[in-house]
Structures are given as C-alpha cells and as structure tokens.
C-alpha cells in the first residue's frame, strides 16, 4: 500500500543522484553566475562571499550578532550568508558543510561548543576556506583569528563587583544561577567568578543551579528557591545572563527580597531598565553587534592579504547605575 509513495521517493532520489553524477562529468557545463571556485574574481569585495554560522537564531543575542555581521559586510561591499545552528552541535556542523559545498571564500563560525565544532573547522580546512571564530573559541583545526570577549574576565568582573557590594555585611550567602550545563559561556563565566570567590571565603554560595539560559527555567527555579531560603538570608543573586537575572529579580522582589543584590551578564534592555530603577546592581555588557562587525572586518582583512592578530578581544564593560547613561544596551 505504500508502494506509490516509495516509488515517488525512489524516483525523485534516482533523479537527484543521477543528475548529480551527470553534472560531475562535465563540471563546466552550467555557466553559473559567479559561483565557480576556480578563476577567482577580481580582488575587490565584489563576488567574494563570506559564510557565517551562529549557534542559534532563537536568542536575541545572536539575532543582534547576525545584524552586526550583515551590516558590516554590506558596508564593506561583501556578500554574506548567515546561517542558524539550530542550537544543536551536529546541525551546526551540517550548516557549515552546506555553506562549504555552496562555495564561500571565508567562514565566520560562532561555535555552539568548543570541542564539538572541531569537525566543522576541519572541513573548512580541507576545503581551504579560512576560518574566523567569533565569541567562542574552537579546540582544534586551523583558525585565522578569534574575535570575541573573554567570558572568564566577565566572570571575574562579576565576582569583584559582588565582593565590593558585600563588604559592608562582611560577605554572606548568595544564589548562583548558571546557564547551560557544560556550555562554554557557563564554564568560562563560572571559572572567572570562582577565581574571585576563592579569595573571599566570607561569600558562600548557598544554591548553585543550572537554568539552560532560559527565562522560564530561571523563574521556576527561583520560585522554589524563595521557598527554600527565608527573606533576608540571601545577600545576592549572581546570574550568567540577564535573561536569568531579570526573572529571578521579579520573583525575589515579589517575595519582598528588596535588599538582595542582583548581578547579570550581557547587558540587555531589560537589565538596563532594572539597573536604572535601582533594582539590579550590575551587568556585564558585551555588544554582539560590535563583535559581529569586528569579525567581518577581520575576515575582510584576511581576504585582502592583510595580517590579522591571532586574537581580537572585544571589550566587556561593567554597567552600574553610575555609567549606565554612557552605554547603550546590547540588544
């Protein structure tokens, strides 16, 4: 009974593969506009294509980063194709391979995972396409340069802000809401924070939870935690993202925890607003638009034969009520 559907599939795939073979015999047959790899076009930006793959489009940070990449490429006159890693290591590799097959002159990769995306970099190396890693590093393959912030430094800035804020009460208990367990920003930001906390034994983490960087998870965990700890015992809530800080803050304030310090990361609009209102102590601003632009600049420099430093570190800014008006939110 499924014969017909199978027949259709079989036919379509037979066509698919035979056509593929047909093409392979005479590769010069279709005069494809501007896509054939040999006979590289004039060294101006025109005709050169940059491929970029971000970890996901479902997070505003990466949506802003995509904007940064596209705007800068347009400004410099390069074609750019930004793709969605769909929050999955394997799917992100798939996207890289598809772009390589399509034919790109440069790859900008923001890996979802530093280890899992090594095969993607190796595939680009095999295809002789230079790679720029953005925002997160990759632990293998050949990479031209890394463009991004130092997450560990951000964690240290959080720790120092926390230590300063808790000086008057001589430390105390804190809640730590981390991102996705095992992900690179989670590990790096945690390393940075822990390195500061080691010097401050008076600050004790009472609860340390993973939230997958998602608002709903943060809110539900925080709802449980306000039941677990009585009002006034928790001195501060440190989070690895503003997406966790703002929901946690809402729950805490709803329980009357008004003197609990809240520290976030990323610097989004909601966090800026909470800092302005004095509900939140600080956040660490990293600008995805600027990062994206810097990655495109580095890629273009490399394509034009200019030397590019092996690390392009974009700055992280500690945002408090004092310097809030001097900066714009990241997204």
């Amino acid at each position: 009974m499924n014969q017909p559907s199978r027949v259709f599939l079989a036919i379509s795939f037979a066509c698919l593969f035979t056509c593929g073979c047909g093409d392979s015999k005479k590769p010069e047959a279709p005069p494809a506009p501007g896509g054939v790899t040999d006979a590289r076009p004039v060294p101006s930006g025109k005709g050169k294509r940059i491929g970029a793959v971000l970890p996901m489009f479902s997070h505003p940070f990466f949506v802003a980063q995509k904007q940064g990449l596209e705007d800068k490429a347009k400004e410099l006159g390069y074609e750019i194709d930004v793709r969605d890693g769909q929050d999955d290591d394997l799917k992100q590799i798939t996207q890289v391979e598809a772009l390589l097959n399509r034919g790109i002159d440069m790859l900008i990769l923001c890996p979802r995972d530093e280890d899992a995306l090594v095969p993607a970099v190796e595939a680009a190396n095999r295809a002789n396409v230079p790679v720029v890693t953005l925002n997160r590093r990759v632990n293998g393959g050949k990479v031209v340069t890394y463009v991004g912030a130092d997450d560990a430094e951000g964690g240290r800035q959080q720790g120092e802000t926390l230590a300063a804020a808790l000086k008057s009460t001589n430390g105390g208990l804190i809640i730590y809401l981390q991102g996705t367990q095992g992900s690179s920003p989670q590990r790096k930001r945690n390393d940075g924070l822990q390195s500061v906390l080691k010097q401050h034994p008076e600050i004790v983490i009472a609860d340390d939870r993973f939230t997958n960087f998602s608002e709903d998870k943060a809110k539900s965990i925080m709802t449980d935690l306000v039941r677990r700890h009585t009002r006034g015992t928790i001195r501060a809530i440190v989070t690895q993202a503003d997406e966790l800080a703002v929901p946690a803050l809402e729950v805490a304030r709803g329980e009357g925890w008004t003197d609990t310090f809240v520290i976030g990361f990323n610097g989004n609009k909601a966090a800026f607003e909470e800092i302005r209102l004095g509900h939140m102590l600080a956040t660490i601003l990293q600008d995805p638009v600027k990062q994206g632009a810097a990655a495109v600049s580095a890629a273009v420099d490399h394509l034009n034969g200019k030397a590019v430093p092996s690390d392009v570190i974009t700055e992280l800014v500690l945002i408090t009520k004092a310097n809030l008006d001097k900066h714009a939110p990241a997204y």
């Binding site: 017909p4 559907s5 259709f8 392979s24 489009f57 095992g182």
Partner: protein, 325 residues
Amino acid sequence: MSSGSTPEPSKRIPWRTLFVRLPQLALAVLALVLMLRTERFFTPATLGSILTLASIVGVLAAGQTFALIGGGFDLSQGAALALTAACTATLAKQGVHPVLCACAALAVGLLLGAINGGFVAIVRTNPFVTTLSTLLVYRGAAFLLLAGRPITGIRSFEPLNEGITIAGTFLPYRGFVFLATAAIAWIILRQTVFGQYVYATGGNAEAARLAGVRTTRVKILSFALSGLAAGLASILLLSWIRLAKPDTGEGYELDSIAACVVGGVSLQGGSGSVLGAAAGCLLLQSLATLITMSGFPDEYRKLVTGAVILVFAAADALARRSERA
C-alpha cells in the same frame, strides 16, 4: 486492516492513487526544480555530504521503523543515543579497545531498547508514555554519568570517519554504514519470518497472537532493535564529533520519526518500509541542505520543514482513505 504483506488487488495503472498522491508528487517535483536552480547543489560533493550528514538520523530511522511497524513508538532514541555515547566515551577514555567499546555501545543500546519493549509488551504501558518516561530517565542518567561535563577527544572510532575518494569526492564510511543498516533492516523485515511477525503484530496484535505469533517477544525485540540503532548511531556520532555531551542528540527521536512519516511508515503500525524511511531521511536532509545552499532565509526553516512533513502525512492519509473506500 492495512497490512503491507497483502498483495495489491489489481495491476492496472493506479490513476486514482496517482491523483491522490499529487501533493507528494508536486512537492518532489518542486524540490527537484529548486535543487536544479540551486548553484552547486547537484555536485557529487554536496550529494555525498548529504548522505553522510543523514547517516546518524538515518540509522535511528531504520530502528524507529521496527518500533513503528511493530505497533510501537520510540521517543527515547535521542536520549538513548546520548546515554550510550556517554557510556562508550567513558570506556574509551579508560583505554578499552575500540572493538570492545563498539560492542558495549551496541549492547547498551540493545538493553535500553529492551527496557522500553519490556514495559510496553509485558507491563503493557502505552508506548508513548513509556518512551517519554525513559527519554527523561536516559537523558537524566547521561547527565549524571557525565556530571554535566563533556568527555572530549575520543579517538577510538576515528577509522569510521575516514572514507574513500571516488572520482575526487570524499565519502566517509559513515554514509556506507547508513546504507548497509538500511539494507540489513530491509532484509530482516521483508525476507525473514521475524519480519513478517513484526508486520503481523503491528497490524493486528490479537489476530497475530491467535495465529501463533509470540507477540510479546516480537514487541520486545522491535523496541530492542530501535535501541540497537541508537547504539550504532552513537558510534557514528563519536567517530564524527569525538565527544559525548549530556545534550547530544536532543530531539533526534523527532527527526527519526519525521523521516519515517515522510517515508510512508504508518504510525498505526503494520505497514511501511525501511527503504521509505531511509529515503525520507535523505529527503529531509536534502531539504535542510537546500535551504542553506539556496540562500533561503533560515528563519523559515522550521516552518518549511514542518509543512513538508505535514504534506507527506496528509497525502498518505488521503491515499489510505481512498484505498479503503
């Protein structure tokens, strides 16, 4: 009711069937036109990479076919993949021989599948509920085993990631493993007595039991084979990305079910073919690659993929309805 083993009533040209299958046909033609218009899509390199990229979900889909045809449903495949990968990676890191690691992966997969089968066939819990629960159990166990940290740098299965170069096109062995799995699964389902029992059990378990089929055993085995596929998929995965993470393969069970649906495997049990599932998997991967290579915006990816699956499912349902009338 709908049994794949009954002979077709007539050999006339099935115009009516063709008409009913029009949406699928139109979609296949449309996809073909888009592929032809996409620069550099029909190159051996691109097609080879589609085959390789489809291999992991393809192996899962081959296993899923057994569960579905046997009247079951396996939602735990992605989690079973993560758990077997975690176990295998732990062994590999301790210097266990790669062949033993591979055997362990297959054994763990088989066991995890058999647990599903045992609950469904003996305890008689609903397959959906059973595998939804074991999805959480297996995923949770993988988290605990790895303590949230990835195990990286696993080189045990690297030979599988190598391949052969045919006419300048590099084809990793993983693609061949997928094709071989599909072929073996097809032989088991179509050419063995056990295969006939799986169809019979999925089509009408009570009738099969009365006819002397040991349906409990068949059910357990069909789920166990789905787990075995997850074990094999975990080997392919480790050979490729060389690390095990707690969130590896999240949602792959849905990809494998989607491949089966597109390939015409019935969710009611008792009908379908593993070759259909393999073709469905290749079609969905082609679609994914096509979306990227044609420059079609990624924001539409989910919507388009879902719509394609729905069209195939709807066409299949309509065809069945008209055949029954």
